[in-house]
Symmetry: none
Subunit: 221 residues, 2 copies
């Protein structure tokens, strides 16, 4: 029930803005009395806070536990991040867009909580990617840009996904994970032996390759 | 000058919303008289329309010409799309977010134009990817999800890019193109450009890797 209230509130907020929607409007739209609505949410702010938490809320803690796991590699962690985040956004794209659209109207405290959660999620994903680069599983990408790229690709779902569209959230998650992981993982032939020695061995290999190209006429294609 | 007016208007719209900002507010913020502002824009709607066109405007026509080229492959077309779109969004992230945030307040006609432009851009990118799949240059991806993924990764820049941040638009475009093209191109073991340039690119990648290992303590083995 409290979830139905949240969905209905999200629709009203989308139509009228946060400032332009009262608890009374929400109660009316639900066909409830105001006291009945108060049973679930005793203020518009409480309702807002719940909407915000639904979007980013527990995400950062889950992500941290995921990052700290030592039994799986960075690519597998990426797979979990992509599939859980796609599922969460596809479940309520409207809520997600609402927060992005109405940030200016959010009470300072709630906005702060939202920003902090978003920052933590970015931070955890950045660290997962950096760990992958360090272990040689990923290419030496700029981990910050890479994290924003993965987050952006997923967040944008809120602007285009429709439950009655041609793709299920599972299909979207699978395609996005394939794109992101192929974009990050080192080619199979480029997997270095781990550590400094492995990196130096790769360099030597590439130098030999370059040397041959240059002595063969340097046909810089 | 008209571009300065647009930037200033974008800032005011961001602070007060479209509905809450008058031409007079904009003139005042510019230190201009209203008649002087009228010389550039004779209504708030004209100003809005120009802002909308700046964000998506000529993009779809350029994209169509790009798609129809037969002298370059799909990956190269993707490179052009990524670099031009990243540059456009990084140039005015505020304008871009404004349109997304204030869609509900936009006059119907302008909103329609905005949606049509966005739809065309998606359409052209989807076709470029589909062409690449057909020619065997790209993996057999779902071209619609792939196009949304690339667009999302780029559009999200509007939410995080800062001109004084650590990465230039060129660096962001390069990283995003690498991710997107590796995500799409057939063969997980894709080599970068062939020839001396390719060999040098490989070397640079490995040097970066070694550098990070060493600076991380070199004990990663």
């Amino acid at each position: 029930m409290s979830n139905t209230v949240l969905e209905k509130a999200a629709v009203l907020f989308a139509e009228r803005g946060f400032a332009g929607t009262s608890l009374r409007d929400i109660a009316e739209a639900m066909g409830m009395t105001r006291p009945a609505l108060y049973y679930y949410f005793n203020s518009k702010e409480a309702l807002l806070q719940e909407l915000v938490r639904g979007v980013t809320g527990s995400g950062s803690q889950e992500l941290r536990r995921l990052r700290e796991r030592t039994d799986i590699g960075a690519a597998e962690k990426l797979r979990v991040v992509v599939s859980t985040t796609v599922a969460r956004i596809a479940e309520s794209p409207l809520r997600f867009r609402l927060l992005e659209r109405n940030e200016a109207e959010l009470p300072a405290e709630i906005l702060q909580e939202h920003h902090t959660s978003k920052g933590r999620i970015l931070d955890e994903l950045t660290k997962i990617i950096a760990d992958g680069v360090r272990s040689g599983e990923f290419r030496p990408v700029d981990e910050r840009i890479a994290a924003f790229s993965v987050i952006g690709m997923i967040n944008w779902i809120a602007w285009w996904y429709k439950p009655d569209g041609p793709s299920t959230p599972e299909e979207i998650a699978r395609e996005m994970y394939e794109m992101a992981s192929r974009g990050l993982v080192r080619g199979a032939d480029r997997m270095p032996a781990s550590g400094v020695e492995g990196a130096v061995a790769l360099l030597r290999e590439d130098l030999t390759h370059l040397e041959r190209l240059v002595s063969a006429g340097g046909s810089a294609s």
